[in-house]
């Protein structure tokens, strides 16, 4: 097994907006009149090409996620982008990290779409679930205070829909569905691996430990990521098991170039944009009332007041580097810092290394990706340089021949009675004269 796994990612920002001095929030209130669909088309397709490229560059997986009504990440439906990646890649795992399951009227839609993607991709889907950030509650009628309950219930419903034979009735507090019977079911058994992105809250850590899911940290300083990962490992121990290394993934935008100085020159404006512009959000929009419990809000504001955490929009580039929100430098610097970072926090995977970050031009993303693939990833790989998934048995045969060899004919060959006839006809041979002619 490799020392570390690398996941490419793209938030799909849209940066052709007024400067921050001219707006209060990049989310919710900044008008969509600033979105030019002609420009949007160009960058969407560049972003998709970049995500597709992660497979041939050798990444362990590629990720997409869901955000609404903002310019930081213009991917309101991650399953749509995932569907394109399914069709344009062959073997790489694709993470939808994640679908914001409390926000939508019927969680079964997510169960269905993820199952479709999993079946079509041959079991390559990682299914992430999130609450959606606070801002997202302004875009629909879900009461922020219901967020956690709806998340938990939607999760339980989706897992049951994937694992229990239907039909069954769902009688929840928030969702009532008379007939749950999603078709298709996912190809991975019992279901796609579940990743839970988190901001370090105790509730999320307990949830992940209880279900033995994979935890991934969103943007955070190194010390805080470590605190959260240690908390998760302790919680797993309390439940009587050791957390495997691959249970936790860190998220650290990483940019590499020929020299330290050149890397900073190239990355500074774009990485700063993500935090200073993309995440410019006033408190009351970031944390609508009820999104946090009063107790969590008190803890958070207390930490803020003591200066332990700073709003991300106010972090300087030097602070981002110092606290290791981001890693930037020459191949040697980046290798060393990723090694130190992941040893320190105990991460099994790194998200957003060698990826598109902020409004970088396409050439810069590809340059970052190439140097990252050639000079960083091999350091953390076995001698053959392969991602782990290429050493493992795939969840589905890779060719039709392998399928036929392994599965033979379907267990129940399709048969039917053509209305007006009495004979049960086997469709495989239904067109042969001795079968079809007798029914005519």
């Amino acid at each position: 097994m490799n020392k570390l796994r690398f996941y490419g990612f793209n938030l799909m920002p849209y940066a052709d907006i007024p400067p921050t001095s001219e707006f209060e929030s990049a989310w919710v209130s900044l008008s969509n009149k600033h979105y030019d669909p002609q420009r949007g088309r160009q960058i969407y397709n560049e972003y998709i090409d970049q995500l597709v490229a992660t497979e041939k560059y050798g990444f362990d997986g590629v990720g997409v996620n869901e955000h609404h009504a903002n310019f930081y990440g213009t991917m309101p439906s991650p399953n749509i982008i995932a569907a394109m990646l399914v069709q344009r890649t062959n073997h790489i795992p694709i993470g939808v990290i994640g679908n914001a399951i409390p926000l939508h009227g019927n969680p079964l839609r997510v169960a269905e779409e993820i199952a479709m993607l999993d079946v079509i991709s041959g079991g390559r889907i990682i299914s992430g679930f999130v609450r959606g950030i606070g801002c997202e509650y302004f875009n629909n009628g879900v009461v922020p205070a219901d967020s956690v309950e709806r998340f938990n219930e939607a999760h339980d419903l989706i897992i049951k829909a994937w694992t229990d034979d239907g039909p069954f009735t769902w009688q929840g507090d928030h969702f009532y569905i008379p007939n749950v019977n999603p078709i298709p079911r996912p190809i991975q058994d019992p279901h796609p691996p579940i990743w839970i992105p988190g901001q370090g809250s105790l509730e999320t850590i307990q949830f992940v430990a209880k279900h033995k899911y994979t935890y991934m940290m969103v943007f955070a300083p190194q010390w805080f990521t470590k605190l959260a990962f240690d908390g998760l490992r302790e919680e797993c121990q309390r439940l009587g098991y050791e957390a495997p290394k691959n249970m936790v993934n860190a998220c650290v935008p990483t940019y590499v170039a020929e020299t330290d100085k050149q890397a900073h020159r190239e990355a500074k404006a774009h990485l700063s944009w993500v935090f200073n512009t993309g995440l410019k959000i006033p408190d009351q929009i970031f944390f609508p009332p009820g999104y946090m419990t009063t107790k969590s809000f008190r803890n958070f504001m207390g930490a803020m007041q003591k200066g332990h955490v700073k709003p991300q929009a106010q972090l300087s580039y030097d602070e981002l580097l110092k606290d290791r929100y981001i890693i930037v430098g020459s191949p040697e610097t980046v290798r060393n810092q990723i090694g130190e970072y992941c040893d320190d926090v105990g991460a099994g995977g790194l998200i957003m290394g060698g990826s598109s970050v902020g409004p970088m031009p396409n050439w810069m993303v590809m340059k970052n990706m190439q140097i990252f693939a050639e000079e960083i990833m091999p350091e953390f790989r076995e001698a053959d340089g392969k991602p782990d998934y290429l050493r493992e048995e795939p969840p589905a045969p890779r060719t039709r021949t392998e399928f036929a060899a392994q599965y033979g004919p379907p267990p129940e060959t399709a048969r039917s009675i053509v209305t007006g006839s009495e004979e049960l006809i086997e469709h495989r041979v239904a067109h042969l004269p001795e079968i079809i002619d007798s029914s005519m």
Binding site: Y137, N140, V143
Partner: protein, 276 residues
Amino acid sequence: MSFIDAVDKVEVPRPPKHYTEPSFAEVLGVPIAYRRQGNGEAVVFLHGAGFTRRWVPMYEMLAQKFDFIAPESPGFGETPMPPWFRDFSDLSILYDQLFEQLGLDQIHLIGYSMGGWAAAEFASYYPRRLKSLSLVVPIGLRLEDNPGVDLFQLSPQQLMDRLFNDKKVMAEFMEGMDDFDEGIHLYSEMSAAARLIWAPRYNLALERRLQRLTCPTLVVRAEDDHLVPNQMAEKFATTLPNNRLVMIPETGHELCLERPAELARELADFIKEASK
């Protein structure tokens, strides 16, 4: 098994001015905080989404003339939020039960702002409990062409600026509001408000249900409300049967604090007439 679990009382900060100790009545497991003073006709006042825990001058003026009762809704002031609490129907049933326990039969009901919506909901469920209904800059109907500002998108400062037209009164009531615990309590109260009014910000059924009312009704609007469109009060006035509409001049949404004497006089005159 218990169908009604008791909810614990909560510790809340005390604002420096106008704070008084409340009484409590346990209603459906919830210790409901209320303040009550005076004699005469029973007048119940339902608060808006803020400035709780205080016995403000307007209350005192009404308590000089009536048996004045100001309860605090779940999640506001010193009344805790039970985990089952969801909407105005829960609130209406709690208040009906509270009035029962306080020995109140028929009452004059006043609702201010979000409390105006609460009062309208209560009235639609229990019209025969009311001797009169007064709504002061209420919300809760749909203004098709004017949804108004989204108060939840406003910073505390922006909210205060829209609430108060008289910045001197604002300064007086903002004293102590920058306290850390007070800030947390404000988030908690806004969470309770969001529980009730996040979406939709109206109840279409009210227009129909309010036609059940037979008691006199009063709507009070402010001359220049920067938080809720002035047409909202106008729409309530045309919706409510037996209605009188009055306007308090030179004030905005926070008229209870800015124009206590004028508002108390309008309310008292109306209630006295309705009591005849």
